[in-house]
């Protein structure tokens, strides 16, 4: 079967699922392109993540209660990000680094575990690669031996970014705008300032970021979830694990849930919070908190030279260049109708009588 376009391919692939087919047939081209690119990018980066999880991580993911562990993880991230924010406000970069490091540690574990949770754990965040790139900017020179060999290109960065697996202790790069080499990615999600911790979501709910008084923050304070044995075991590669290591994990897990005070501490705090203000407690996570780096004066990355693609509902206005291949005679009438509804300017352009071969 000859396939003339990506849309046709999607329609063919979605055979058997009417909703998906309808979506593929009638969605606006720009919206489709944006969503596909976003998905491809996520797939390319994160598709393999968690595939080589060890037994401890698989067990943690499978064994969790969809209401308890995700809640703990969300609370732990909120705790560390809140204290990170307060430490920054108080001018204490060292303390901010400690809390940022632990936040990244928890995010890394959660990102790896979600694949094995059978849908019980869903973790969303903005990839920190564009911010991490600020730290490592040295590139290959044209006369570098490896460039001469053809292994690398001139101008290519020498060091790859690690994202959530970042192992350094300095997280000051999160307070800058993302690196310009990631402009396209930043344009897609629109977060062009300092790193948006407040966009982290666990099972659809945002993390709750408190505004602590910097004076009240004495030093580093752990969260009960930091003591969960999975935080010690998840990083080890599966091929380096012995049955003894797994036995140790199961023992530690048993001890954590049955004997340690951490779960009780966690529930005590939350029962107290709910008692103080039930309405506010119920609304926690329903929308993102104020920007964590909002108090900093960060010049955002300039993404204004190309229009940011907006995903809009019917009737939304866009300003999109007319493409040379948008020939109304070749388009399905239903597609023309959708273009007419969503982009009247574009519709007018493509249906206007052509003048002497001039096309935009």
């Amino acid at each position: 079967m000859k396939i003339n376009s990506f849309r046709e391919l999607l329609v063919k692939k979605a055979e058997g699922d009417d909703s998906l087919q309808t979506l593929a047939k009638f969605v606006d081209s720009e919206v489709l392109a944006e969503k596909v690119l976003e998905s491809l990018e996520k797939m390319a980066r994160a598709r393999h993540k968690g595939d080589t999880a060890n037994l401890a991580l698989r067990d943690f993911a499978q064994d969790m209660d969809p209401e308890t562990e995700p809640h703990m993880i969300r609370d732990a991230l909120g705790h560390h990000v809140s204290r990170y924010k307060a430490a920054l406000k108080g001018g204490r970069q060292d303390l901010a680094n400690q809390h940022a490091k632990q936040a990244f540690n928890i995010m890394n574990m959660t990102d790896r575990a979600q694949k094995h949770s059978g849908g019980k754990l869903a973790f969303e965040h903005v990839s920190p690669h564009p911010w991490e790139r600020n730290k490592m900017t040295s590139t290959y020179d044209p006369d570098h031996p490896k460039v001469q060999e053809g292994k690398y290109r001139a101008g290519e960065f020498k060091t790859k970014t690690k994202g959530l697996s970042y192992r350094g202790s300095d997280f000051s790069h999160l307070q800058q705008a993302p690196h310009e080499s990631y402009k396209k990615e930043v344009k897609r999600h629109g977060h062009a300032g300092a790193y948006p911790f407040e966009q982290i979501r666990v099972n659809g709910k945002h993390i709750h970021v408190d505004d602590h008084d910097p004076e009240e923050i004495a030093g580093y304070e752990a969260h009960p979830f930091d003591f969960h044995p999975i935080m010690d075991h998840y990083k080890e590669a599966a091929k380096n694990r012995d049955p003894k290591d797994d036995a140790r994990y199961f023992e530690d897990k048993n001890q954590y849930y049955n004997e340690s005070p951490h779960m009780d501490n966690f529930f005590d705090r939350h029962e107290k919070l709910e008692e103080q203000d039930p309405e506010a407690y119920a609304a926690r996570g329903s929308k993102p908190a104020d920007p964590v780096h909002g108090h900093l004066d960060v010049e955002p990355l300039d993404i204004s030279d190309e229009k940011k693609v907006q995903s809009g509902s019917a009737g939304g206005k866009r300003d999109v260049k007319t493409k040379a291949n948008l020939d109304p005679d070749k388009l399905h009438p239903d597609v023309l109708k959708v273009i007419k509804d969503t982009q009247p300017d574009l519709y007018a352009k493509i249906t206007a009588p052509k003048e002497g071969g001039g096309e935009e």
């Binding site: 998905s39 595939d51 060890n54 308890t68 380096n240 797994d246 779960m263």
Partner: protein
């Protein structure tokens, strides 16, 4: 056709055939340019014939529908019509001969509009859905207030344009798509080729093994999570109920832990090699790793025969002492270091063995000298020949490294022996060597 008919009357049979042939050739040339579906007849062909469609039944549903559509925006619409005027067969034939393009104009389809016949409950529900982000049309369907075609015939006549989906609805469909993507990812891992994608294959096997080992627990646990016992529990009480259930289940099923330990889930990754996470075992500290996780040290060991308690083929032995692989087997006019590329993969070794066996059965030509000399039958004395045959036989039969060394001492060149000893020393100093004399 008429000219062919005339031709028959006026010409001989041969001439008729020629004319037919000419017509067919021309038709064949025109075929590429013609619309193959254009089976229209020419005016001449239809002389004397009349073509007339049966008039449409006035009460026919299709006719009624056509009339309805024609009534809407008739100015821009072109519909296929059959000329029903009698006595004008030429016109009819012409119209029928030309393929009529049916253009669906603006008038035949219309934009969706709410039908307005909503109950107060439906309106309230619709408003709620619209507040959540759905479009009016989606909200109507979700609220159960939709009035669409109820049967197939009506659906065929449905003439309302589809609408652009809301972001909210698209977000929900994304979730469906993510299940589809996850399933695809799962199948990819399970069906991955172990040669081409060892880590993916290992991930698939580990996933499968884990699911098998925890099948019973996962099923029981999921049933408990859906049960009425937990339905109304929240927070600490929920956690305690789940914890108690888990403790009880593990007490009643002590074999579960054993099964999990025996499933060897992580073994698959060990077998697939070190991709990420660093080298293991003998390769630790060796730095670079090979394609399947084999380190340089492990390759040296394999080459030098460490760990190979059984046969070392004559080919391999020859390559220890610098054999050059040729079509006739391993031969050498100079010593070569096997680490520079003379060592052969196990599979190639097997092929080489088979070739050697085939060669020994073929006519005498160049005879492969397993201890590294190229010889020509005419140049070799019979005594030497006997010695070489014996040497070849010993290596082939025993494969013992020490015997190779002894043979080299007795019959080989000094530099060959020297090379062999140096390789053995290098291996021994790396700590993986086999003791001299061990088989």
């Amino acid at each position: 056709m008429s000219d062919i008919k005339n031709t028959f009357a006026e010409n001989t049979f041969l001439e008729v055939l020629k004319k037919l042939k000419g017509k067919l050739s021309k038709a064949q040339e025109d075929e590429d340019e013609m619309d193959l579906q254009d089976y229209g007849l020419s005016e001449e062909d239809l002389q004397g014939l009349s073509v007339q469609d049966e008039p449409l039944d006035e009460d026919d549903e299709a006719a009624r529908w056509l009339r309805e559509q024609e009534g809407q925006g008739a100015g821009e619409e072109e519909t296929a019509q059959v000329d029903q005027e009698k006595g004008n067969p030429q016109e009819e034939a012409q119209q029928e001969a030309q393929p009529q393009k049916k253009k669906v104009g603006k008038g035949s389809f219309k934009d969706w509009e709410p039908h307005g016949e909503y109950t107060p409950e439906q309106e309230a529900k619709m408003q709620q859905f619209m507040d959540e982000g759905y479009t009016h049309r989606e909200a109507e369907k979700l609220a159960g207030a939709h009035k669409g075609p109820t049967d197939f015939q009506s659906a065929l006549k449905h003439n309302v344009w589809p609408s652009q989906m809301s972001n909210k609805h698209m977000g929900e469909l994304k979730e469906i798509a993510s299940h589809w993507i996850d399933n695809k990812d799962r199948m990819d891992k399970l069906e991955a080729d172990p040669e081409k994608a060892p880590m993916k294959h290992a991930a698939g096997q580990a996933m499968k093994a884990h699911e098998e080992a925890t099948k019973d627990y996962a099923q029981a646990y999921n049933e408990f999570l859906q049960s009425d016992e937990l339905k109304d529990l929240k927070g600490r009480k929920r956690f305690q109920a789940i914890r108690d259930w888990k403790n009880k289940w593990h007490e009643e099923n002590p074999e579960h832990s054993q099964k999990l330990a025996e499933s060897n889930i992580q073994q698959h990754f060990k077998e697939a090699g070190s991709v990420g996470g660093g080298p293991t075992g003998a390769a630790a500290g060796a730095g670079r790793t090979g394609r399947m996780g084999e380190s340089i040290n492990e390759r040296i060991d394999r080459i030098a025969g460490v760990g190979h308690a059984d046969v070392m083929s004559s080919e391999e032995a020859a390559q220890h002492v610098g054999g050059v692989k040729t079509d006739m087997g391993t031969q050498a006019s100079q010593v070569r270091d096997p680490l520079s590329g003379g060592a052969i993969h196990a599979k190639q070794r097997e092929i080489a063995q088979r070739e050697r066996q085939a060669r020994t059965q073929s006519d005498a030509g160049y005879k492969a000298n397993e201890i590294g000399e190229s010889i020509h039958p005419k140049q070799v004395s019979s005594a030497r020949k006997d010695r070489e045959n014996r040497a070849e036989g010993v290596i082939r039969r025993s494969g013992n490294v020490d015997r190779v060394k002894k043979l080299l001492e007795q019959h080989g060149k000094p530099e060959q022996l020297d090379r062999f000893v140096r390789l053995r020393s290098a291996k021994a100093s790396q700590g993986g060597g086999k003791q001299e004399g061990e088989e």
